[in-house]
C-alpha cells in the first residue's frame, strides 16, 4: 500500500513540476500574489478578531463569555463547512472518471492506496482552509489572553489536524455511501436526502448558534446571566465545538483525549467504508442510462439552445453540479450566519464596518463561484470547437450566448444577495446594499465570462477545475479580490455619507458598463481569431 501511495504522490509532484515549466515566471508571480492575498485575508481575520476580542475584554464578564462563544461558533461553522467541502471533494472525485484513476483501477493495487492518496489531498486542502480561518482566530484569542507562543502553536496545530481528519472522515464516508447509489433506482432519493441533510444541518448549526434564549441575554440581570449563558446549546450540548475550544482554552486535557478518540474511530470507519465501496463506485460511474431528449431542437430562436447546452454542461456533469451546490451552500451559510451575527452581537459603532465586511464576503464568494462555473465556459468548448466553429454562426453570437448563460448560472448569487439584504428591516441602507450587490454580481458575471473568452485555454477544456485554478483563473481571482476591496471602500464611503447612495450606484453602473465594453470587444475579436485558427 505504501509503495503505491508513494508512487501516486510522486505522480502529483511531477504533474505540478510540468505545470510550472510552462510560463514559469508568470505562474510564479500569480501564485505568489495569490499566497500574499491568502495571507492578507488571514491577517485581516486576525486583526478584526483581535480588535473585537480586545474590545470585548473591556466589558468584564460579558466580554470574556462572548469571546468564548464566538470561538465555539466559529469552530462549529468551520467544522460544518469542512464536512461539506470534504463531501464535495470526494463526490467530484468519484463521479468524474479520469484516465489516471482508470489506469490505477486496472492495476493490482489495494484501493486503500488510492483512497489514502485522495484523503491526503483533501486533508491538504482542509488544512489550507483552516490555516486562514481558525489559525488567525486562535492567535487573536491567545494574544488577547496573553498565552505564550509555543503553547499557542501546539494547541492550534492540534486543533487544525484533528479537525481536518474529522471532517474528512465524515464528509468522505457520506460521499461514498451516496454516490454508490446515485445511478441505481433509489438514486434520486439519496440525492434528495443528501441535499436535505445539508440544508437541515445548516439550519441546525444556525439554531445552535442563535437559539431563541440568546435574545434573553440582553434583558437578563447579572445574577441570572451566567446561568442562562452556560445553558445555551453551544456552551452545553455541542461536543465538537466544546472539545476544540477546550483544547484551545485549556490545553491537552480530557477534551483532547476525547476528541482524538472520536476522530480516530471515525477515521477507521471511514477508511473501511471507502475501501469496500471504491471499486463498485467506480463501476457505477460508467453506467450509461437513457435520458429524455430535452428538446434542444424545439425552438427556432436558436440562441436559447446554445444557452441550454451550456447549462447542461453544468447540470449534467456531477462534478460541476457538486461544485455549484457546494459553493452556493457555502455562500448561503456564511452570509446568513454573518448577517445574523452582525444583527445580534456587533456593537452599533462597528456596524458599518461589519456590513461592509459582509458585503465584501458576498462579492468575494460570488467571484469564486463565477470563476469556477462561468469563467471556463469558452475553454470548455476545447475539443468540440470543430463542431461549434464550423457551424454557420457569427463569433459575436457565440460570445453573446455565453454572456446570457453566465447570467443564468449566476442567478443563485442574485438570490443570496436578495435574501441577505431583505432579511429584517428593509430600509434605505438595505435597498442600497441590495442594489449595489446585484450590480456588482452582474458585472462580475459578465466581466469574468468575457475574461474567460479572451484567452481561453482550450487544452484544459475537459477539466474546468484546472481552467479556474490555472494561470488565468488565479489572475481572475486576484482581479476579483482587488475589485472587491476597492468597491468595499466605495460602499463604506456611501454608508458613512461621504458619497450620496444614488451617486454611488450611478458610479457602479457607469463604471461597470465602461469596463465591460473593451472586454466585450476583446472577447469578440479573440473568438473571431479562434474560429479560424483552431
Amino acid at each position: 500500500m505504501l509503495s503505491s501511495l508513494q508512487a501516486l504522490i510522486r505522480l502529483d509532484i511531477q504533474a505540478t513540476r510540468r505545470w510550472l515549466e510552462k510560463e514559469a515566471f508568470w505562474k510564479s508571480v500569480i501564485t505568489l500574489v495569490f499566497l500574499l492575498l491568502m495571507i492578507g485575508v488571514g491577517s485581516l481575520i486576525y486583526y478584526f478578531a483581535r480588535f473585537y476580542f480586545s474590545y470585548l475584554t473591556t466589558i468584564e464578564t460579558y466580554g470574556e463569555l462572548t469571546i468564548g462563544y464566538v470561538l465555539r461558533a466559529t469552530i462549529l461553522i468551520i467544522t460544518w463547512v469542512g464536512i461539506l467541502s470534504s463531501f464535495i471533494s470526494a463526490t467530484s472525485f468519484l463521479l468524474s472518471p479520469n484516465k489516471t484513476t482508470d489506469k490505477l483501477v486496472t492495476l493490482p493495487i489495494d484501493p486503500l492506496g488510492i483512497i489514502s492518496w485522495q484523503i491526503i489531498k483533501t486533508l491538504f486542502l482542509n488544512i489550507s482552509m483552516f490555516l486562514i480561518t481558525i489559525f488567525p482566530l486562535s492567535l487573536a484569542y491567545f494574544s488577547v489572553k496573553g498565552i505564550s507562543a509555543p503553547e499557542v502553536f501546539f494547541r492550534s496545530i492540534s486543533v487544525l489536524l484533528i479537525l481536518s481528519l474529522l471532517v474528512e472522515s465524515l464528509g468522505s464516508s457520506l460521499a461514498f455511501i451516496i454516490t454508490n447509489r446515485l445511478k441505481k433506482r433509489e438514486g434520486l432519493l439519496y440525492l434528495t436526502g443528501a441535499i436535505a441533510l445539508f440544508i437541515g444541518g445548516t439550519y441546525f448549526v444556525y439554531k445552535i448558534i442563535f437559539p431563541p434564549s440568546l435574545a434573553l441575554l440582553e434583558s437578563v440581570d447579572i445574577a441570572n446571566f451566567g446561568n442562562l449563558f452556560t445553558n445555551l446549546p453551544l456552551m452545553r450540548n455541542c461536543f465538537i465545538a466544546g472539545s476544540f475550544s477546550g483544547i484551545l482554552e485549556n490545553g491537552f486535557g480530557t477534551h483532547f483525549l476525547a476528541i482524538s478518540l472520536v476522530t480516530g474511530l471515525f477515521l477507521c470507519l471511514s477508511i473501511l467504508i471507502q475501501r469496500s465501496l471504491f471499486i463498485s463506485n467506480w463501476q457505477q460511474v460508467r453506467l450509461s442510462v437513457p435520458l429524455p431528449n430535452l428538446g434542444l431542437g424545439s425552438k427556432q430562436f436558436f440562441s436559447l439552445n446554445l444557452i441550454k447546452k451550456d447549462l447542461l454542461s453544468i447540470l449534467r456533469n456531477p462534478k460541476e453540479l457538486a461544485y455549484a451546490i457546494f459553493l452556493f451552500l457555502m455562500l448561503l451559510i456564511f452570509i446568513s450566519l454573518l448577517t445574523r451575527g452582525i444583527e445580534a452581537r456587533v456593537p452599533t459603532r462597528f456596524s458599518d464596518s461589519a456590513i461592509v465586511f459582509s458585503w465584501f464576503w458576498l462579492i468575494f464568494y460570488s467571484g469564486t463561484f463565477i470563476i469556477r462555473l462561468v469563467f471556463p465556459l469558452m475553454a470548455k468548448e476545447g475539443r468540440t470547437r470543430w463542431w461549434l466553429f464550423t457551424l454557420p454562426l457569427k463569433p459575436s453570437h457565440i460570445v453573446e450566448t455565453k454572456l446570457f448563460a453566465s447570467l443564468i448560472v449566476s442567478l443563485p448569487l442574485f438570490l443570496v444577495g436578495f435574501v441577505e439584504w431583505t432579511m429584517g428591516d428593509v430600509g434605505t441602507q438595505n435597498i442600497y446594499l441590495l442594489a449595489s450587490g446585484l450590480i456588482v454580481i452582474a458585472w462580475l458575471s459578465l466581466a469574468l465570462s468575457l475574461l474567460g473568452m479572451i484567452k481561453p485555454d482550450y487544452s484544459l477544456g475537459d477539466d474546468p477545475d484546472r481552467v479556474s485554478t490555472g494561470f488565468s483563473g488565479i489572475l481572475a481571482l486576484v482581479i476579483v479580490i482587488f475589485a472587491g476591496i476597492a468597491l468595499s471602500f466605495l460602499i463604506d464611503a456611501s454608508l458613512k455619507g461621504f458619497i450620496a447612495m444614488a451617486d454611488s450606484l450611478g458610479l457602479l453602473f457607469v463604471g461597470g458598463i465602461v469596463t465591460l465594453i473593451p472586454l466585450y470587444i476583446s472577447a469578440r475579436k479573440s473568438t473571431q481569431e479562434h474560429t479560424v485558427e483552431v
Binding site: 460508467r286 450509461s288 442510462v289 437513457p290 435520458l291 431528449n293 430535452l294 428538446g295 434542444l296 431542437g297 424545439s298 425552438k299 427556432q300 436558436f302 439552445n305 446554445l306 447546452k309 447542461l312 454542461s313 447540470l315 449534467r316 456533469n317 475539443r383 468540440t384 470547437r385 470543430w386 463542431w387 466553429f389 464550423t390 457551424l391 454557420p392 454562426l393 457569427k394 474560429t531 479560424v532 485558427e533 483552431v534
Partner: protein, 240 residues
C-alpha cells in the same frame, strides 16, 4: 468558375512557424464526385481539410464552396458544408439525439424537416438506443457515426471528412461508403482523407496523393488501377 465545382482550392499555402504544411495546393471537386486524399502522416491532409471548413486561415490562396469564398462569406459557405474531423469528440453531457437536434437547430432547420431528417438518418446505422444515452459513454466508432449523422443534417452540398472509417466495424464501413456514394450521386460532393487505401479504391471517383504539403498526383477512376502500387511508387519517387 465552373458551375459543377462544389469545392475549388486555388494555390493554397499554409505555414506553422517554419513548417510549410501546405505548398500551393490547387484542386477541384465536382458535383457528384467522391474525392479521396491519401498520403503519409504529416503530409498536410488534415491541414487541408481544416482550411476547407474554415477552421484555419490560409496564408495565401483561397477556398470556395459552390463558388462562395469561405474567407469572405464564412456563414454562407459553412451552411453548405458537413464536417467530420479526425477525432470527433463531442459534448459528453448531451445524448446523441440532443446533439443531432442541436446541430439542426443551429443550422436553422424548421422542426418538421428536422424531425424527418433525423428519423431518416437514424435508420442508417443501428444505433437508435445508443443515441438516447449521453455521449460520455460512446465508443470511438459510435462517436464517429454520430458526428457523421450530424454532418448530413441541413442538406449540405459538400461533405468534408477527415479519416472517416477509423474505429468502425466492417459492416459500418460498408454503410458509410455507400452513403457517401449515394450523397454524391444525389448532387453533392465528398472530400475525404484516409489511410485505408482499400476504402479509397472502392468508393472514390478520384484520388489525390499528398506529400510534404504538396499535391503530387491525381488519378481518376482508381478502381481501374492497383492503388497500393501507385501510392507506393509515387511516394518512393518523391523520397528518391
Amino acid at each position: 468558375m465552373n458551375r459543377e465545382n462544389l469545392l475549388s482550392i486555388e494555390n493554397l499555402s499554409k505555414s506553422f512557424g517554419t513548417l510549410l504544411a501546405l505548398d500551393s495546393v490547387s484542386l477541384k471537386v465536382n458535383k457528384g464526385e467522391v474525392y479521396a486524399l491519401i498520403g503519409p502522416n504529416g503530409s498536410g491532409k488534415t491541414t487541408l481539410i481544416n482550411n476547407i471548413v474554415g477552421l484555419l486561415k490560409p496564408d495565401t490562396g483561397c477556398v470556395t464552396i459552390a463558388g462562395i469564398d469561405i474567407d469572405k462569406k464564412p456563414l454562407v459557405a459553412k451552411a453548405l458544408i458537413g464536417f467530420v474531423p479526425d477525432n470527433p469528440v463531442s459534448y459528453p453531457f448531451l445524448t446523441g439525439n440532443e446533439f443531432l437536434y442541436l446541430t439542426g437547430n443551429l443550422r436553422n432547420i424548421d422542426r418538421t424537416t428536422l424531425d424527418r431528417e433525423i428519423e431518416e438518418l437514424r435508420q442508417l446505422f443501428p444505433i437508435s438506443e445508443v443515441l438516447q444515452t449521453q455521449m460520455s459513454g460512446y465508443s470511438r466508432g459510435n462517436l464517429q457515426k454520430t458526428a457523421f449523422l450530424a454532418s448530413l443534417i441541413g442538406s449540405p452540398k459538400l461533405l468534408d471528412i477527415d479519416e472517416p472509417i477509423v474505429g468502425l466495424d466492417p459492416f459500418s464501413i460498408k454503410i458509410f461508403g455507400e452513403k457517401l456514394k449515394q450523397f454524391s450521386k444525389s448532387g453533392g460532393a465528398v472530400f475525404l482523407s484516409t489511410h485505408t487505401l482499400s476504402f479509397a479504391h472502392k468508393y472514390a471517383d478520384r484520388v489525390g496523393v499528398m506529400h510534404q504539403g504538396k499535391l503530387i498526383e491525381e488519378v481518376n477512376t482508381p478502381q481501374k488501377l492497383d492503388l497500393e502500387k501507385m501510392y507506393e511508387k509515387t511516394i518512393n519517387n518523391e523520397y528518391a
